[in-house]
Symmetry: C2
Subunit: 350 residues, 2 copies
DNA sequence: CTGAAAGCGCTTACAG
DNA sequence: CTGAAAGCGCTTACAG
């Protein structure tokens, strides 16, 4: 064992010597250049395999090859740890990257307003270890993101959109902007007119959209908008629960017949609050969410929601980011996905 | 904008010139060497900041610095995507690594028996882009893992233990080996004698342990071990559900009074199966799991289980791996964590 | 406390 | 189809 470790690790020079060719040729074989006769390729490969040679990224990087690595920046740690959607996102991203030959380097920060976090991210972006970065959970228009975009870095963003300043190296994938209205329309069609709205962090593009479009729909439908029924409920089960408790207690017994929660996690929080207050879903109060969280199939009752295909969204984002890295033509900079109403059992017809 | 991009990116040489020192000194400042007078340090730092200089990892790597990157290898993709514990693991690992100044590079493979997957992992380990790797979901004694250990790579493993061949560069963190017995003892103490066991993938160290220790406890307690009540239930909700359905149907109406599931996900599957067959938990059938999944607080009824502190486990693993990378003294190679019985409401006293 | 120089391991025009 | 040579950006003994 000691012996093994002390064997000098071979480099491309050694392989070249053993194979009786130049390092140029070894490099050509490794990188699958076409102008190498098959016989040469075979013999070089044989030497490489027999000697367990692995090209060092240090050399490759230094000579200007891409790192074939994508940075994945998660914002707001607590939300990640608790939301089981995160692991779905993660698998979609890592798989899509792997399919293109890319690895994923992860970084989790609570917030970008913290100078240390921002410096850390800047460093990762600027030190040559990644070819591009993807952000999840960034506030819309986040200065650090825009700084990186302006510096020419390739950045992919989930749920982020700046209509006024498209940029070839800022790739985004988004939820349709109308899903709030669709939820309200559905509730109305089911006979509800007294609707509570639990919105999320309005600095996030989708939360703002959902909220705006839902209020618009309420007005259009001529519903009464009771101030005490419109509350900020964050984006987690816990914050949703707390907001729902507060809201339900604040409405002086005049409960809404339905609640629109800006995401499924929050909707689960509403379930819990309803139970605590002795309200049955959907008999006493209907609930509709947004996202299409798979967990919603197993809740009691199963959650009615506006579902999105997250896997498709992330695969598209990763592919467009990689296309940009590889200077292929990418026509789509911003992309919006439609949601589908998943009518399960948490909304009752009145 | 075009202008900005065409500005030649500066290297340490440029910084040196601008600061009126040598590249050696620039390097010393960047790496916080003590033998630099404060005035020099200040002026160099000023030039670095003003010019937005970031040392390139390519150079650092080539000159032999560590990559300060840990590979995280997830095996069995499907289990990751569906289990919300994964994102907890992930956050614990990434955070613990960040606390030591390390980044995490992720790789997901379905299985290591696939030659392509194994090659991919070998390449990541041997190409100098990571200082160490951590495996989650590896079978005990996995040949690829042992190959890497033999080659002197530093590898950290969750749920993996080879009593016969400890190695200074194979660091592990494990569940206590007795938790199966503890679950059985608890059920017995609650008056159960007719117990079904749904075990998991026996190639995993913990699954094998849990199963073995639980059977042992059953014998010790003099319980009847009915063959049809002992089934393989995998490690996911779905596989647990299927195993439970099969098992409950196979016992010809002579239902067990309690079920021990080798992990919480499987226990949730048992809940679903019980519901489908019209059995109430715990009135008609008690269920105990293992893991301490936070989701178990919210199920109906809340799940009684043997809980582990995953965060502590992963933080310890990451720290010992980093210690080994940095050649600090690490005394603990294998570590076992105790579980705590979390007595919620899914086990009824008979 | 500081600098000149060697060295790390690759790829890629370039010339043939 | 192939090789010699330049070059990529850093760190680190070494000498002073």
């Amino acid at each position: 064992m000691k012996g093994m470790e002390s064997v000098k690790k071979l480099g491309s020079k050694d392989i070249a010597k053993l194979a009786g060719v130049s390092r140029s040729t070894v490099s050509r074989v490794i990188n699958n250049y076409p102008n190498v006769p098959d016989s040469t390729r075979q013999s070089v490969m044989k030497v490489i395999r027999e000697n367990h040679y692995f090209p060092q990224v240090s050399g490759q990087l230094l000579s200007g090859m891409p790192s074939r690595t994508i940075g994945l920046f998660w914002l707001s740690k607590s939300a990640i740890a608790k939301d089981s959607l995160s692991s779905q996102y993660f698998v979609s991203i890592v798989d899509a990257a792997a399919a293109r030959g890319y690895l994923v380097l992860s970084c989790i920060e609570e917030s970008l307003s913290d100078a240390k976090s921002a410096d850390n991210i800047r460093k990762i972006f600027m030190s040559g270890r990644i070819d591009a970065g993807i952000f999840i959970g960034a506030e819309n228009g986040e200065p650090l993101v825009e700084e990186l975009v302006a510096l020419g870095r390739i950045v992919g963003l989930f749920d982020y959109f700046l209509a006024a300043s498209p940029s070839a190296n800022r790739l985004t994938v988004n939820f349709e902007r109308n899903s709030g209205a669709r939820a309200i329309d559905f509730l109305c069609d089911m006979g509800h007119r007294d609707i509570a709205v639990i919105y999320g962090d309005l600095k996030r593009f989708s939360s703002a959209n959902r909220h705006e479009s839902c209020l618009q729909a309420m007005r259009k439908r001529g519903l009464e908008i009771r101030r005490e029924l419109i509350t900020d409920g964050g984006i987690t089960v816990k914050s949703g629960y707390e907001a729902a408790i507060k809201m339900l207690k604040a409405c002086g017994g005049r409960y809404p017949t339905a609640v629109y929660a800006n995401n499924d996690a929050v909707a689960f929080g509403v379930y819990r609050a309803a139970e605590e207050l002795g309200l049955r879903v959907p008999e006493d109060i209907s609930v509709i969410g947004s996202d299409g969280h798979s967990h919603g199939e197993d809740t009691k009752p199963p959650l009615t929601t506006i579902g999105f295909d997250f896997d498709k969204m992330f695969v598209s984002l990763v592919n467009r980011v990689v296309d940009t890295v590889e200077k292929r033509e990418t026509y789509i900079v911003d992309e919006f996905f439609w949601g589908n109403l998943i009518n399960r059992e948490s909304v009752k017809r009145l």
